[in-house]
Structure formats: C-alpha cells, structure tokens
Symmetry: C2
Subunit: 550 residues, 2 copies
C-alpha cells in the first residue's frame, strides 16, 4: 500500500457494509486478497466460500429475491465471471439486485493480456446486467460501487457489475463512502389517471375478463391489491405463463385462482378482456402456432417498466406504473355498481384448472409417476415452506400441483439456466431463516450445481434438496419427439440417457445427509428424517425414465 | 421440414463427417433435435453426452490438442455456451482446433428475446474464438461450417463458433458440402533467409546462449529440430515459463534439459542470448519486479504468429515462420566450426535445475508432503503415460518433478480455468487410445468438473483421475500471504478452507472406482488397483492443508 487512507479492498468492504451487506458469496483467487484481508476486521461480515461461481451468483440471487436487498457475488477474473453468466441471466430476469464484483489482474498485466486477462472483461456481462464498469482509480471505488448498488436497486432492478483491478485494491484511497440513503430513492410511479379510467371502463363492461398475475406483482408487494380487484370484479385470476414464471403473483389457495396462463386453455380463449399485471408478454419456448393473446380480446397491460408493454402483441391500454398503485387505482375507478354480470366465470375457469391437475397417465409398473411425486411433495409444502423449483420436465407438473402462495411459498427461474436452485435455495434460506426451504430439481439440473452441497454442508445451511431422478434429459427426448424423425420411428433418443448417477451418494460425499427412495409414498418419511437431521439434506427419488413430460 | 433436400441438422452432420469428425461432445437441449436425429443414420458417429458444457468443450479441446484434428462441442443456446467459456479460453491459448456449435431458438423467437435468447449470442464468445458467425440461411450451413473448420485449423489455429437457429436446422437445403481438402492448405511458412543468417551469427558468437522451448514447437512437430540445434550448439534448453506452459517443447529426459524458464534463475540471468522458439513472451501472473528478459541479453524470437513477437519486450531478431523450418534453417546456417566455446554451460544449468528439484521443506507429521506425492506420481509416469495436469498450488511442483517428454507425456493449461482436466483427459484418452492417461488435479480444480466422472463412467473411458486433496484453495491463502496484511498477522485465511469433501465417495456416486489414500507410499498400490480395474478410476490423496506452494 502507498499513500494515506485505507486500501481499495477496505473501501470495497466499507461500501458493502454501508449498503447493509453482511456477507459476500465468493469464489476468490489471488486478485481478491486485499478485500478478503479487510473482512478479518469485521467478524460480523461473512465470507461464504463457494467452490464454483455459479453457486456464488445463484446464492446471491436467491438472497436478493426474497429480501429485496442487494446481495454481492465476488468473483475472480474473466474466468470466474464466465462461469457465472448463466445464473446471472436468471438474476436479470427476476430483477434481482445482485451486484457482481470481479477482481482483475493489475492494470499493467491487463495491458499485457497476461494470466487470466482478456480485453474489456465487462463486455462479457453486458447481456446480463443493467450496467457494467471497471474502476479506473482507487479513489473512485466507493462511488463506483455506490452507483452499482443504486442501479441494482432502482426500478426496474437487476444485476450490475464492477471490475476491480488488483493494483487499485492494494493501493490506498481517502474518498468517503457516499451515504446510501441519498442514493436509494423510492422509484414507484403512479399511473396516468386517464389511462386508469379507460382501463376501468373496459373492465366494467367486459363479459369475460381475465386477470393475469405476473412476478412483478409479488416483487412490488401488490398481491393484496390484485386480490382486492379480483374479488370486487368476481373474475378468475391466472398466474402468468410458465415460461416467464419466477414467483406467483396470485395465491394458488385463493378461490379465484384458476391455474396458469396458456393460450390453449378455454379460460384464456374465451376471455374478451385480459389484464396482464406485472407480466412479461411473452417468453416463447417454441414458435407459437396461434397468437398467445386470443384474437379479438382487448388487452390491458400494467407494468412498471415501459419497455415491457407492447413487446410482441399490441395493447389496448398500456399502463406504466407500479403495479400496486395501478391496481389500487383501478379498483377505485370501477363504477360503484353496473359491473357486467359474470356468474359462473370463476367456477368455469377453476373447473378447467382443477381438471388439469388430475392424475397423469399411469406409468409402467415399478417406476414412480411424476404426478404422484408432485402430489406427495405438495403434502409436504406447508404455509411456512418455501419451494425453490428447478426442474425442467417435471417443472410444469410442479407448477400445476404445488401450493404457491406469495410472497414466499414458491420461487423458480425462467432463465433456462439449469442448476440455479442449488445455489438459489441457499440464498433463499439465508434470507428467510425462519422458513423451511426445499429445493426441487431434476437430476439433469442437479448436475449443474453439485458444488452447492458443499456450501450447504460447510455453512450448515439447512436446505432440503429433493432431486427427482428420471436418469434422463427428458427435455431432449421430448424435443426429438416433437421433431418427429428417425428417433421417433426407432424409439431411440440420443442425448437422453443420464443414468448411473447415485445422487444421494454424491450428497454424502459432500457431507450432506443423503437418502434415495423409489416411491412417492416414501417421501413423507424421508422428509421427516431430513427435518430431524441437523443441517442440510438431500432426498433422491427415482422416477420413470421414459416419461417425457406433459 | 419444407422443400427438397435434407434438413439443416443433416447438413451439419454431413459437414462434420466430411471433415473427419466422428463424434460430438454435447450438452443438448431442445434446439439440437434435428442434428441428434440425423446422427441415428450413422451408427459410427458417436454422441458423447456431457452433463455440463465445461466438460463438452474441455473434452473437445483435449482431443483436438493431441490429434491436431478438429473436434466439435455442440451446446445449447447462450445459457449452455456461457457455461463453456472458461475452457474455451483454454482451447484458445493452446491453439486447439475446437469448433463450437450452438443451437439457438428459431429466428422469430430470437427477435422476441424469448426463452433462452439474448441479442447477438456470438458476441459472448468473441474474446475466445478466431471467428464467430450465426448462419442466416439453411442453404448456407455447409459453407458456414466449412469456413469454421478451415479457420479453426489454419495457423495460428484456434476455436471458432457457429450459431445454428432451430428453424434453419429443421428446414431443408440442397447446398453440397464443400470438399474439405480444398480448404485445408498447409499453412507452414519458411523463415526469411536474411533473418536466419542474422540469428545464426548471434548464436555462433554468444558466450552463454539459452534456448527456450515453447508449446508451439511441440504442436508444430519441431521438437527434433530443436534437439538437433541444442546438441550442435552444446547449450542448455529450458521449457517456457510456467504461466504459458501448455505442453513441453523439449524432452525433460534429454541431457541438455535444464528446467523451466524463470527470470530469477541464474541460468536465465547469466545468458547473453536467449532464443525463444514457439513461446508466448510472456503471460505474467504478477507485476514483474524485474523484467522477464535479463537486461543486456540479446533476444531471438521464433514464432509462427507474427503477433507474438515483441509483445512486451523488444527483440533483436524476430523470425516469423514455422518453428521447425526456422530451427532447421538455423542449424543449417551455423558455421561448420568457430562456434564459441561453452564448456560447462549445460552442466551448470542442469545443476541448478536438479538442485531445484530436491525435497521441499518437511511437512508436519501425519500429513503428506506435496513433493513426495509428485515424486510418487513421477514413478508412475512411464513412456506410454500421458499426464493431464490441472493443479494450481501443486502445478508448479508437478512441472518441476514429473517427466514431460513431447509429444504426449504432459499436457496442461495456462488459462487459469480450473477443472479443465476433468474433460480434457477424456478427450486426450479418446485421441490417444493406446496411451495410459492420468489426470492430476487439486481438490479445488476437481470441484469445477465433477461431471466429467459421469462421462468417463458412461462411455467407459479408462482415465485415472488423481486428486491431490489439500482441502484448500491454497492459492487464495498464498495471495493473502503475499498481501501481507491482517491475515498473515493472525494466521487466518478467509476463502481458503475447502475441507469436508470425500472426493473418492463422489467418484463412486458417479460410477467411478474411487480410492482415498493418505500417504505417497500408497500411490503405487492404488495405481496398480486402478490399472486392473476396468474403466475409469479416481485416487484421492490427502496432503497438508497448510502448505501454500513454493
């Protein structure tokens, strides 16, 4: 260190602490020494070591999602950063305020494209963050970081990135840490009253309106407003499409709840007005055979981010505002009487939903039915349970059959980045220490994050991992089935077979209590054992390798 | 499929086959169905499934390195691609002809930024590839891929990338596959005769010249030329700096071999002429305290890539040419007699090298010495053994103590991308089926690629993984030691402790024969067991957690 003041590393720590950050999820290398050293002066500051960057970022994401507070992942050079990008994308889609810091080699070595250097590391993260910046002077570190925190939290929230060269971190600076309170304005906006009147008139006169609840409703604390509107109107509410589902915007336990948005469903097709609240419209998985918005239906889209409105399909009324303020204003603007009669509308929609959650076709003897597993899981999900879902083929079934009451009963990712729950569940548990946290993954997804087990064991984070092991990339086989070529003719599915992994044994290798079961009926007992076991545990349940999803 | 011809997926397979590719390393998703389906028509074409993209790319890299032939990793969307970037960087640094294909969602969905879409996926790989291109029409697929293969193989070789949208893959095309032979010119260049005369004169008159062998000498098959030159001159030869070391350019068993290039060594400091052949000069790990080239020494740098010459330090003579042609021309240009006398020069350099490979300081009782482990390993490395090295703290010790005769006795990576050997060793074994392949990793590196064990087990690739388990990120602690702050004062090293992993148990969970040992003396017996065991195996050897490297 040269000059007066504290090291750059210490300045980073001070800035983090000023923003209320009390732990960092990290997979460090040599470039993070000054920061790590500074943590020793603050025994209340926790360095959570993760043996793979994907875990660091997904754990930070999980924590940030459930608390709404910023979380920090501290990674090592472009090599470590690259390992985290898949899950950084998950944080982006969930508007999760994750601040990713990355230690870089000293400036001279960057010029020399030396060990673990590539030009312009920040470009790597550009698709995934709201802003990226590499600090240029030690003196600027507190302000650069402060800006990253501000942007991560400012609506629409999302990840940000700061690159920190080792020479700056080892050098000293005197710049004070800015006062975070002055950089954290509430960014809620109220809706345009004229647009609210327009939307209220549409709602009052529609014969068969449908409300669609998006993740942003829950993130912005507007679930109560949506419930009030739904009850006043007497209309069904569906949660948003599976492909954008991050968390429920409406309680599945509510009598007006009617399943998930899906353009193929009668409930959607028969609607003459659809109000999307806090949804992304849409994130398609395949080229749609019909539009995702039924022809002729009027569309109201409420979203706090103007860029989301009219993204693919046009809208009749687009309302840019905090979803809570907009929904409350809509309720207020409805006529006291004279609402169109919609007798039976909720019952019909709910009937369709309930019919859809009946038993799936029976499986061959000796292998367990995925629906039965989902139902057995559902029995284990209490009011105080948070499920962190990360299953591909089974994911759709879990969404249909598991209780999902906001704010905290269910979290998942629409990123397609497998293994997210292996880290996210840890962050969720740290953010919601009073809740029971159960991560539910397929075996394919598990393979993308086994290192999360070590973190769970090392820091005794009592998450229960449930791995539904069909020994397959069933999604690959399902794609071959849709393709309808030689694979279907021959019943051979290259790229599908993932058999031969003993997930419970791997868990034990990481120091986690592991159990393997073969029947859904055994799940209750296994969960009971997991609950009495101190620390984390894993339950592997074997299911039918030939089931390719609904 | 619409129209005449075969599917895009089939066109991809035909192009791969035309280039001699007989297997693909893949972690597929739904976008790769047309290609996977096409593979069913060719039972000789192998789809090697990997449960993490890092394994797909490092396995392809391993294969491409040892064969010089192109290898293909086929990944799924930006999500899968991101997971592979660290090891793609390893392929770049080794000039490994890896062609990465990535299935993308259909064009319409890309416009919609739909599921697993980001804008301009190819930008992600730009720091790591020679060229990236997303095919725009099905009709162009054969030519686009052909171009990717051509560039991957053309000097200076390296990875290339092609993005393949699902709609193009499912559509049909009639374009023929270009004849690869017409796109694979030999790109060797001969040196400028004038520069060779200049360099030969320097060599003839220098008092204490030193030859430095880089990885490119071995990759270009020029080891024999270097040996001939060294013997004619009677000078010592060192292999290049540890931080650029990918493979030996000179046999460690040769009497002129004198260790590794290191500016701190007397052998280097006392040289008045240094000839770098096929080296990168330099890839620094830390800001150098003295220049890596001794002051006053003359420098000749031979490299086939002009961009490598004079990168950090200036040269007296830079020769752009195939290293083999340049070294042979140098030998030819030396005067028949009148070489400066260098009696004792080889002995001195070799003496310094041998002194440096003596026993390291003894370890506390009950824990094993890393040098002893390296020496026990060295005893196991026969002429027909290939070591694939991927240890951080132990890596320097392995390089000093293990036999490394080109072309195939030792491979490693200078990328800093941990876990590389978990996939690379599989590709090495597939490329060199007659050789015994031993991957040597630290426990920290192992954690970045446990999924390679599943691939080894599933395809019965008989690699022996040796994991040197010090239960630590010793490199992090070493960095804190160099930083010299509170951590050193207190003897506390945050971010170091990786204890509690039973690597052998994890191996067994993946279906790999796993053994844990505690003494270097047990290694011989464990290796003997591994050799008689059919299929892959893993040996975990516990070492001192407090040893932080030389």
């Amino acid at each position: 260190m040269t000059g007066a003041g504290r090291s750059g590393g210490r300045a980073v720590l001070e800035t983090l602490r000023a923003w209320g950050v009390r732990r960092v999820f990290t997979c460090p290398g040599s470039t993070e020494a000054a920061f790590l050293d500074a943590t020793l002066d603050h025994p209340d500051f926790e360095v959570v070591l993760t043996p793979h960057e994907s875990i660091a970022v997904s754990a930070a994401d999980g924590y940030a999602r459930v608390t709404g507070e910023p979380a920090v992942a501290y990674l090592h050079t472009h090599v470590g950063l690259a390992n985290s990008l898949g899950h950084l994308n998950a944080a982006r889609l969930a508007h999760s305020p994750v601040v990713v810091l990355t230690g870089l080699k000293p400036a001279l070595l960057q010029s020399h494209r030396s060990f673990t250097c590539v030009p312009d590391t920040g470009r790597l993260v550009e698709p995934y963050v709201r802003a990226q910046w590499q600090s240029l002077r030690t003196e600027d570190i507190p302000a650069d970081l402060n800006r990253a925190f501000r942007l991560a939290l400012t609506e629409p929230a999302g990840p940000t990135w700061v690159g920190l060269s080792q020479d700056l971190m080892n050098d000293t600076c005197t710049a004070p840490v800015p006062d975070p309170q002055r950089y954290r304005p509430r960014a809620r906006t109220a809706p345009d009253p004229e647009l609210i009147r327009e939307a209220a008139a549409l709602l009052a006169s529609a014969d068969s309106p449908l409300l669609v609840a998006g993740a942003e409703v829950a993130r912005h604390g507007a679930v109560g407003d949506l419930i009030a509107l739904a009850e006043r109107l007497g209309v069904p509410v569906v949660n948003e499409d599976r492909r954008t589902y991050e968390r429920p915007g409406f309680p599945t336990s509510h009598p007006n709840f009617a399943g998930l948005y899906d353009a193929r469903r009668a409930t959607v097709r028969d609607s003459d007005l659809i109000v999307f609240a806090g949804c992304r419209c849409f994130t398609e998985f395949e080229t749609p055979v019909r539009p995702d918005v039924p022809e002729g239906a009027r569309v109201v889209h409420i979203h706090s981010d103007a860029a989301e409105i009219g993204h693919i399909y046009g809208v009749d009324t687009g309302i840019v505002a905090d979803e809570g303020l907009a929904l409350a204003a809509l309720l207020e603007a409805l006529p006291r009487d004279g609402l169109a009669a919609r007798a039976g509308r909720v019952d019909e929609a709910r009937g369709e939903y309930l019919a859809d959650t009946g038993p799936l076709p029976p499986e061959p003897e000796g292998v367990e039915n995925v629906a039965a597993v989902a139902d057995a899981l559902a029995e284990q999900v209490g009011e105080n349970t948070t499920v962190v879902g990360d299953a591909t083929t089974t994911g759709a079934i879990l969404l249909r059959r598991l209780p999902q009451d906001p704010p905290h009963q269910y979290y998942t990712t629409s990123s397609g980045s497998l293994g997210w729950a292996m880290g996210a569940a840890l962050g969720v548990k740290l953010g919601l220490p009073e809740r029971e946290v159960v991560a539910v993954l397929g075996d394919g997804a598990f393979q993308f994050g086994p290192q999360g087990l070590w973190v769970a064991a090392r820091y005794q984070i009592p998450v229960t991992f449930v791995v539904i092991n069909n020994e397959s990339y069933a999604a690959v086989a399902a794609a071959l089935r849709r393709y309808g070529g030689t694979a279907v003719e021959r019943g051979e599915f290259p790229g599908k077979d993932l058999s031969g992994v003993d997930v419970a044994a791997i868990a034990r290798g990481y120091g986690v209590f592991g159990q393997r079961i073969h029947q859904a009926a055994e799940l209750g007992e296994a969960m009971a054992k997991a609950r009495t076991h101190p620390g984390p545990s894993l339950i592997e349940i074997m299911t039918d390798p030939d089931y390719l999803g609904p």
